[in-house]
């Protein structure tokens, strides 16, 4: 069997190709951040209420900020190459520790949002296509349009006002009920309960995109030969829609999914802020304001790896969904 070996080689090739991409991103990140006025020492001194110039100079020397730019850049790239993300002077903690503390929360939020967006989006799109130009289709169109147009932070706030303040169904923020101190299954349920509002809020925009895409793709397939064939051989309408049409309609959705991983990560900043979700997005935002560039570069670096890896995984999914797409690069 040559399949698995080829598959392994493909993964290896793809991962190898990621290395220069990720290093390139790290390089650009570093240079772009140099354009921001002020440094972490300015912010520290500003917050402290005062500092002598000597004290500030000593801090800059300690943080390596007194080195020439090319020296700092080489140092940084070397660190990245050796997977050393450095130290956050502001938090007095290694960058990797800070990131790993926050990463699970963000991944959980992203995964849940994605799940909701994909599942609901595809369902709505399929439903709309099945009832094209019917009242259900129109209703879905309106809902989708609103979901697409409303900014997520506003939606989040409104959700909090309604579901937390008004009705008290869901907590307004946080990831766990701190005072309850749940463990085991109770904790899982508690986190899930806290995740409902933020995950749904983050999902709305993407849900709209997937619903639209699915609807369009489904309609395009409507008159396709293989659909007609399926009908001709007596497949039920349900089977035609789900097994034959939907599977093909998923390709553009998958493409979009790959694209949107990055924007999902940035969308998380706002949602995490509104819902006090202890994730990476907020940490990134705060590190910009604080000019904590070691931390910010670390987060950006990890995000770039995350996004590129997920894209690779999605490429693999193409092969699963559509046998014509082959990872082995054979012509179909």
């Amino acid at each position: 069997m040559r399949g698995p070996r080829l598959f392994g080689a493909f993964i290896g090739r793809r991962l190898l190709r990621l290395v220069p991409v990720v290093l390139g991103i790290a390089f650009l990140n570093f240079l772009i951040l140099q354009l921001a006025p002020g440094d972490v020492v300015d912010v520290l001194a500003g917050e402290a209420g005062a500092a002598t110039p000597e004290y500030m100079a000593a801090l800059r020397a300690q943080f390596g900020l007194d080195q020439p730019l090319h020296g700092q850049l080489l140092h940084y790239l070397w660190n990245v190459a050796t997977l050393d993300l450095g130290f956050s002077f502001r938090h007095n903690t290694p960058v990797l520790t800070l990131i790993l503390d926050r990463l699970p929360a963000t991944l959980l939020l992203m995964a849940l949002a994605l799940l909701i967006a994909v599942a609901l989006g595809i369902a709505l799109g399929t439903l709309a296509a099945a009832r094209v130009h019917g009242w259900l289709d129109h209703l879905i169109s309106v809902v989708v349009l609103v979901a697409y147009a409303v900014p997520s932070f506003w939606l989040g706030l409104m959700a909090v006002v309604l579901f937390s303040a008004q009705w008290g169904w869901f907590p307004s923020g946080g990831m766990v009920d701190i005072s309850a101190g749940h463990a085991g299954l109770a904790r899982v349920l508690d986190v899930a309960w806290h995740a409902v509002l933020p995950a749904c809020t983050l999902a709305t925009f993407y849900l709209a995109v997937y619903a639209k895409l699915t609807r369009t793709a489904m309609l395009e397939l409507h008159g396709a030969d293989f659909i007609r064939t399926a009908r001709a051989k007596g497949a039920s309408e349900w089977r035609v829609t789900v097994v034959h049409a939907l599977r093909n309609a998923l390709l553009p959705v998958l493409t979009m999914l790959g694209y949107q991983m990055a924007s999902l990560l940035s969308g998380a900043v706002l949602v995490e802020s509104v819902f006090s979700w202890p994730g990476l997005g907020r940490l990134a935002f705060e590190s910009i304001l604080a000019r904590d560039f070691n931390l910010l570069l670390g987060i950006l670096f990890l995000s770039s790896i995350l996004v590129t890896v997920i894209n690779t995984v999605i490429d693999l999914f193409y092969g699963l969904l559509d046998p014509r797409v082959s990872v082995e690069g054979r012509p179909a």
Binding site: G46, A50, P53, V160, S164, M175, I178
Partner: protein, 540 residues
């Protein structure tokens, strides 16, 4: 240089430049009811602190959390007079050169070790005097610290430091455990993130991005206290979400104006909420506009005086600060009762006078009705409230033919422009004046405090040797009456020259559930230990 000055930072990242000091008639949460034992208090502080130790940093949000675990020698009442905490009594010698503290006995650190005079000596010499932004100035004159016994500390001063007793609470001079800090790098000691103190609450955990949890200290020196079983600080980055969390009962207290002023009307029902306007008296914060007097136009004091006449402080207070505060009359705020003097030159809102002064200074109106085009910098780091203040000033000045271009920057950008590049015309900011002018106000005007590159120094570049002399004399004057006279003269000079327009005395607003009570009101309530706080049990 004898004394370092400093400037606390007020505009927090979350953009809560909030306001104001107001009438004592303000609703108080203090009640006469008997304290109830038990319950966990949920407190909101914004933004999340980066450390949990205030001993060498004055960031407000750090102090608000840290003060429940680590204590100072005293706290301050509503008139900003010291009240015993770790020190039970203190005397200053006639000549002002010796200060003697008697320390509380039978006090233990949370790890069981005894608290003694050695801890105070260590922290004073190695932390406050060396690293603390106020402490460097407040303790600059301390030559020697003596510890004749385990509960006595004697400070020997090189010259009198009449302001010293104003900076020894947990915010100005927090006592650290010597056995944990001695011989380490204080700034990077892990205990900074997991403090070991003498306070009513013991540090349990800090989940970054979420909360800090404190539990009752069963061995607290004040018998019967604390009443609460614990305190949880919840960090909610979004201001609107904080408002909702308070309404939903998920937090009981929102400290340090973390609820936007515009939302305070939702907490007007006294049967459900309490609003405390006294917690931040100690900070004595003033909202100001500062001129860069290096700019030729602003080197002419008539132009600065014209601007003062053109800005309606009362309207600013009403429109932007929604009435939370009072109009400022000079560099020393009225909350600093000892030294405040309103007998200075005042600049009532008067557009005609403003125009006349500008004409006199040679800034005539052009064909387009404009006299001057300038920029105004403000810190937009994360919030919108700074914007409204800047816009108000822009509109005010437009009425006298001065066109203002607003320049927003985040905190780092803003600090760089003003204190390093010195490339600005006007700026707005809110600055704590603190209870003593020598430490809190002098830094704004002192020639020797014009320090390129260091934030919150004399950023206007104003220099007046006559004023320098008055301020320096006041710093060393041990006689209270003479000192008062000097500080009055100082206020008069500043109000004549106006390198800075002091506009509004801001009030820090604490909003709480009506279930929250505190036995004693404090002028430094933002940094209260909460040993005397309790919660009315929830009705089932």
């Amino acid at each position: 240089m004898k004394r370092r000055l400093f400037f606390p930072r007020v505009a927090l990242l979350a953009g809560l430049l909030l306001p104001v000091l107001s009438l004592p008639a303000a609703a108080q949460t203090q009640t006469a009811a008997a304290p109830v034992r038990g319950g966990i208090l949920n407190v909101n502080v914004a933004p999340e602190p980066t450390l949990l130790t205030s001993a060498f940093i004055t960031t407000m949000n750090i102090g608000q959390v840290s003060s429940k675990v680590l204590e100072g020698l005293v706290s301050y009442d509503l008139n900003l007079q010291p009240v015993p905490a770790l020190a039970t009594s203190w005397q200053v010698s006639e000549d002002g050169l010796t200060v003697r503290f008697k320390l509380r006995e039978n006090v233990k650190w949370h790890d069981g070790k005894d608290f003694t005079s050695a801890d105070v000596e260590y922290t004073l010499l190695n932390v406050w005097k060396k690293l603390h932004p106020f402490g460097r100035a407040a303790f600059a004159n301390v030559d020697k610290v003596e510890t004749p016994d385990r509960h006595t500390v004697v400070l020997r001063l090189s010259s009198p430091a009449p302001y010293l007793l104003n900076y020894i609470n947990t915010y100005g001079a927090q006592v650290l455990p010597r056995h944990i800090y001695a011989g380490t790098d204080v700034l990077t000691n892990p205990a900074n993130n997991a403090p070991v103190g003498t306070g009513p609450f013991v540090f349990k955990e800090w989940v970054k991005g979420s909360h800090v949890r404190l539990e009752r200290n069963p061995d607290y020196w004040q018998k019967g206290q604390p009443y609460l079983d614990g305190v949880v600080f919840k960090f909610i980055p979004d201001a609107a979400a904080r408002t909702v969390a308070l309404e939903a009962g998920e937090i009981d207290v929102a400290l340090g104006s973390s609820i936007p002023l515009s939302n305070l009307n939702r907490f007007a029902d006294k049967s459900k909420y309490g609003i405390n306007l006294d917690d931040g008296r100690y900070l004595s914060t003033i909202f100001l506009t500062q001129f860069n007097v290096r700019r030729p136009h602003f080197n002419d004091k008539r132009v600065r005086q014209a601007f003062a006449h053109a800005i309606d402080r009362n309207a600013l207070l009403k429109v932007v600060f929604l009435g939370y505060g009072k109009p400022a009359t000079g560099p020393v705020p009225s909350s600093v009762v000892n030294y405040y003097s309103p007998e200075t030159r005042q600049y009532p809102y008067d557009l005609k006078k403003a125009e006349a002064l500008l004409d006199e200074a040679g800034l005539k109106k052009g064909a387009d009705g404009k006299r001057l085009k300038i920029t105004l910098d403000y810190d937009a780091g994360g919030g919108v409230s700074g914007t409204r203040q800047a816009e108000f000033i822009k509109q005010s000045l437009a009425r006298v033919g001065v066109e203002v271009e607003l320049r927003a920057g985040d905190t780092a950008t803003y600090l760089r422009r003003i204190f390093t590049d010195q490339d600005y015309d006007l700026m707005v900011s809110s600055l704590h004046r603190l209870p003593d002018p020598t430490l809190g106000v002098q830094r704004l005007f002192w020639t020797r405090n014009i320090i390129k590159g260091a934030p919150w120094t004399n950023g206007s570049g104003y220099s007046n040797p006559e004023l320098d002399k008055v301020m320096e004399a006041a710093a060393d004057e041990a006689n209270p009456a003479k000192r008062k006279a000097l500080i009055k003269q100082w206020q008069q000079i500043v109000q004549e020259d106006l390198p800075v327009l002091d506009l509004v005395e801001q009030t820090w607003v604490t909003v709480s559930s009506a279930r929250f009570h505190k036995a004693t009101a404090q002028g430094d309530g933002l940094f209260a230990s909460y040993a005397d706080a309790w919660l009315t049990p929830k009705k089932k």
